[in-house]
């Protein structure tokens, strides 16, 4: 089946060759978009109140924390590693902010950068253990997941915080409270939250990093073939550590924003988000074996999950339905993707 080297390419061949990578992406994102629309219409059939502005706005708000964490996780997954600690980092960020600000009396404008520094430390911890000691990142971050949760319990003495009702003996200045609450301010007749803008802004940043910068170019190369990257003397270690730092910092941002929105912190905050975040990234087309993943795909994955969550909550069949759908959609999306890839590979011969 050899193709003569200088034969003029046929029209079909030129198309399939030129656009293969783009085509893959279009297929995946197009499929995701279709799924989001179809699921929306199905819910509308069952409940004609589904497609209204309030519901759509609450879907966008509720997708944002999973989406933001997913954006950070996408960077780690593209480079071929895993970060199980994003949910715990999210929780630690909210809890340590509560302690530093409300109990410690540090102004919130200063406490937030301090929390982000803690996240940088967590990222370095994950990244250095993974690269320097060559412990698989699954193990490292499984460990740090528990470590961070333990830290959350320790610093809060296993209690909850609400800046509106500081514990006895502590006070929160009104101006600081206003600053903090305004981070995710809701406005307009439909209570649109600023958190959605944070999500979009972070998506732009991560999208730039991943698709338009040298960092992302190398991230994809390293994830695709770490050995080749090492032999070609790409900065594999440094990039892996950077990916873990970004993942932790972005998870901390999600934790701070959600704390601002919910206004209550509790020690186990975020733990239950761990797997939905992975599901969003995987549904968005990232590959756990590395080298593949997009910011827009992760947003789409988070949107689909939030849509299912809210839609099912409105239909109220019971809490089991959400979990069953989360599982089915995760496996289904990957199965469909693999099926299509194989089909196309066979066709291309």
């Amino acid at each position: 089946m050899s193709i003569p080297d200088n034969a003029p390419p046929t029209r079909a061949a030129r198309f399939s060759a030129a656009g293969r990578a783009t085509f893959d992406l279009t297929l995946r994102l197009g499929g995701l978009a279709v799924a989001i629309v179809v699921v929306g219409f199905v819910f509308q059939v069952f409940n004609d109140a589904f497609l209204n502005t309030d519901v759509i706005i609450s879907v966008l708000r509720s997708m944002s924390s999973v989406a933001i964490m997913g954006l950070g996780l996408t960077l780690v997954i593209v480079i071929g590693e895993i970060d199980l600690s994003v949910g715990a980092m999210y929780g630690l960020a909210a809890n340590s902010l509560a302690v530093i600000w409300i109990q410690g009396g540090v102004p919130v404008q200063l406490a937030i950068p301090l929390v982000l520094l803690i996240a940088v430390g967590v990222g370095i911890f994950n990244g250095v253990l993974t690269t320097a000691l060559r412990i698989p990142s699954f193990i490292v971050t499984l460990g740090s997941y528990n470590l961070l949760y333990g830290l959350s319990l320790y610093v809060t003495h296993a209690s909850t915080f609400n800046p509106n009702y500081p514990p006895e003996g502590y006070s929160v200045a009104d101006s600081q409270l206003a600053f903090f609450v305004n981070l995710t301010k809701q406005f307009g007749a439909h209570q649109f939250s600023v958190e959605v803008f944070w999500m979009l802004a972070l998506a732009l940043v991560v999208g730039f990093l991943l698709h338009r910068s040298l960092f992302g170019f190398r991230l994809v190369a390293i994830g695709g073939n770490p050995l080749a990257a090492q032999l070609a003397r790409l900065p594999v270690r440094r990039y892996k550590i950077l990916a873990f730092i970004l993942s932790a910092v972005i998870a901390a941002i999600a934790g701070i924003l959600d704390f601002s929105f919910i206004q209550t912190s509790q020690p186990d905050l975020g733990l239950s988000q761990t797997f939905p975040v992975f599901a969003a990234v995987i549904i968005g087309g990232a590959s756990l074996s590395g080298g593949k993943g997009t910011a827009i795909g992760t947003l789409g994955g988070a949107l689909l999950l939030a849509e299912l969550q809210i839609g099912l909550a409105l239909l109220s069949p019971g809490p089991h339905a959400q979990q069953i759908f989360l599982g089915a959609v995760t496996i289904g999306a990957v199965a469909l993707d693999l099926g299509l890839t194989r089909l196309r590979a066979r066709r291309a011969g």
Binding site: G19, A228, G291
Partner: protein
């Protein structure tokens, strides 16, 4: 008693490359058949087809006149690899049992026959030891025992002794002899000509997917095989422009002194490569030649003095050298397009500017330029790298390394699995690169490659360097082959 296996017109292709093109071969019980041939000749493919690991595309395999039951090949045929493919976490006895456990509910116990078998193969002391803790020789004997335990009749040895000590490999060959004497079909695939002459009764030389020649009896000599390997390979006339370049007057670009391998494969080596020169390091597997090349790129841990472009140390290696691994699995990124593969080693300011933002227009221009200069046959820059032929993939791998503008290019088997046309082009690229005042050091296993591409050849055997051969001094490839073979053998004996 096993019956004779007849292979007729066997064909097998992988995408654009043809591994076997009408191979005819008879496998006779009771003899040890040797198979020799350069890399990419189709030896491994033949082994995999006989072992039932792959289906052939055409032709037939018959045993005693009937079709060979390829479905049963997994039981009938045993392959003993250079690196045994067993279960390192199980004991030797348990390894024998895997696959023959039967359908008992209880943990299976080894049948009585197994112990006798293991004793006969000298495995007695290791029965209860985890295989991972045993030496390679013991692991190989376990693989043989495993095959005997399931009544295998065909034994394929694929470079079995390349990592064994002399004593261990003598013992292995005794076992091989015994297997043949017991009426089995035994095949030995190896690059070691000495072993072929000493331990086989017939040798076929494979080339380009078929049997090129057969040697037995008095004709079976090391020189005979070496000549055949070379002649089968060498078809076109060499590039005549190359020999004219006089390199001795030029300054040394690479200088190495007291170069010692951490793993002990070589010690205290000193040599140099001049500007404009293409130096070939030749040596069989285990000679240290491959590791020597890799060590120059900082990939294999070594110590000693190294200077490139007059600067010494790891910094100079990093700044001025680029290393291209032997397999494309280690140089290319299957998830990236052809264009991005060409640019994978570049950074700021080549492909990224302010804020590390990529510069798409410049990337496109650089990739297009590389495609043109390196004659990469691709329809578009955006297509997947795996859609290219092997030769073009290799051009991309070399172009990728050259894009980072090294002064010393280090190539490990630069044309492995590459067709003859693409080879020509790769040699021309290397020659152009060297002519610009750079240097190339490459590790090769094939004499015609050195003859066509290199200015100077150094033979590595047992971690020692021969005196260097100036390729221009040899009128034809056979003369160079004879000298290289002599130096190789001489090096091993001293």
């Amino acid at each position: 008693m096993t019956q004779r296996i007849e292979i007729r017109g066997l064909r097998k292709g992988y995408g654009n490359t043809k591994a076997l093109v009408g191979l005819d071969l008879d496998l006779i019980p009771g003899e040890v058949l040797g198979i020799a041939g350069p890399n990419g000749a189709g030896k491994s493919t033949l082994v995999r087809i006989l072992a039932g690991e792959e289906r052939h595309d055409g032709g037939e395999v018959r045993i005693g006149g009937a079709a060979f039951p390829l479905a049963e090949a997994a039981r009938l045929v045993a392959v003993v690899h250079q690196e045994p493919q067993l279960f390192p976490n199980l004991t030797v006895a348990e390894n024998l049992l895997v696959g023959r456990e039967g359908a008992h509910l209880l943990r299976p116990a080894p049948p009585d026959g197994d112990r006798a078998l293991m004793t006969a193969l000298g495995l007695g002391p290791y029965v209860a030891r985890p295989l991972g803790d045993c030496t390679l020789a013991v692991q190989q004997r376990t693989e043989i025992a495993r095959a005997l335990a399931r009544d295998a009749r065909v034994f394929l040895f694929d470079e079995p002794n390349s990592a064994l000590t002399d004593e261990e490999s003598d013992e292995l060959f005794q076992e091989i002899r015994k297997l043949a004497d017991a009426g089995n079909i035994v095949i030995l695939v190896t690059h070691r000509l000495g072993d072929l002459v000493e331990h086989t009764s017939r040798v076929v030389v494979m080339r380009d997917g078929k049997v090129a020649a057969e040697l037995q009896g008095a004709a079976l000599t090391e020189e005979g095989i070496a000549q055949l390997l070379v002649l089968a390979e060498h078809r076109a006339t060499p590039d005549s422009a190359r020999g004219l370049r006089d390199t001795r007057a030029e300054a040394a670009l690479l200088q190495v002194r007291g170069w010692t391998h951490r793993g002990g494969l070589f010690a205290g080596l000193s040599f140099a490569a001049a500007r404009g020169e293409i130096l070939a390091l030749m040596g069989v597997e285990g000679s240290g030649a491959r590791e020597l090349l890799r060590s120059l790129g900082g990939v294999e841990a070594s110590q000693g003095e190294i200077s490139v472009m007059g600067e010494s140390g790891a910094g100079a290696v990093r700044r001025y050298t680029a290393y291209v691994p032997a397999t494309r699995q280690l140089s290319l990124y299957s998830n990236l397009s052809v264009g991005n593969n060409l640019l994978a080693r570049l950074g700021k300011p080549d492909i990224a500017g302010f804020g590390y933002a990529l510069r798409p227009r410049r990337m496109r221009a650089l990739a297009e330029d590389a495609v043109r200069r390196f004659y990469v046959k691709t329809r578009t820059l955006g297509q997947g790298i795996r859609s290219l032929s092997g030769g073009n993939q290799q051009k991309v791998a070399i172009a990728q390394a050259l894009a980072s503008r090294p002064r010393l290019l280090l190539l490990e088997e630069p044309t492995r699995g590459v067709d003859i046309g693409a080879r020509r082009e790769i040699y021309r690229l290397l020659s152009d690169f060297a002519a610009d005042g750079n240097a190339v050091v490459m590790y090769c296993t094939e004499v015609p490659e050195m003859f066509e591409a290199a200015d100077r050849v150094v033979v590595v055997s047992d971690g020692r360097l021969s005196s260097s051969l100036s390729v221009a001094a040899f009128p034809h490839v056979e003369a160079l082959a004879t000298e290289v073979t002599r130096l190789e053998r001489h090096g091993r004996q001293t």
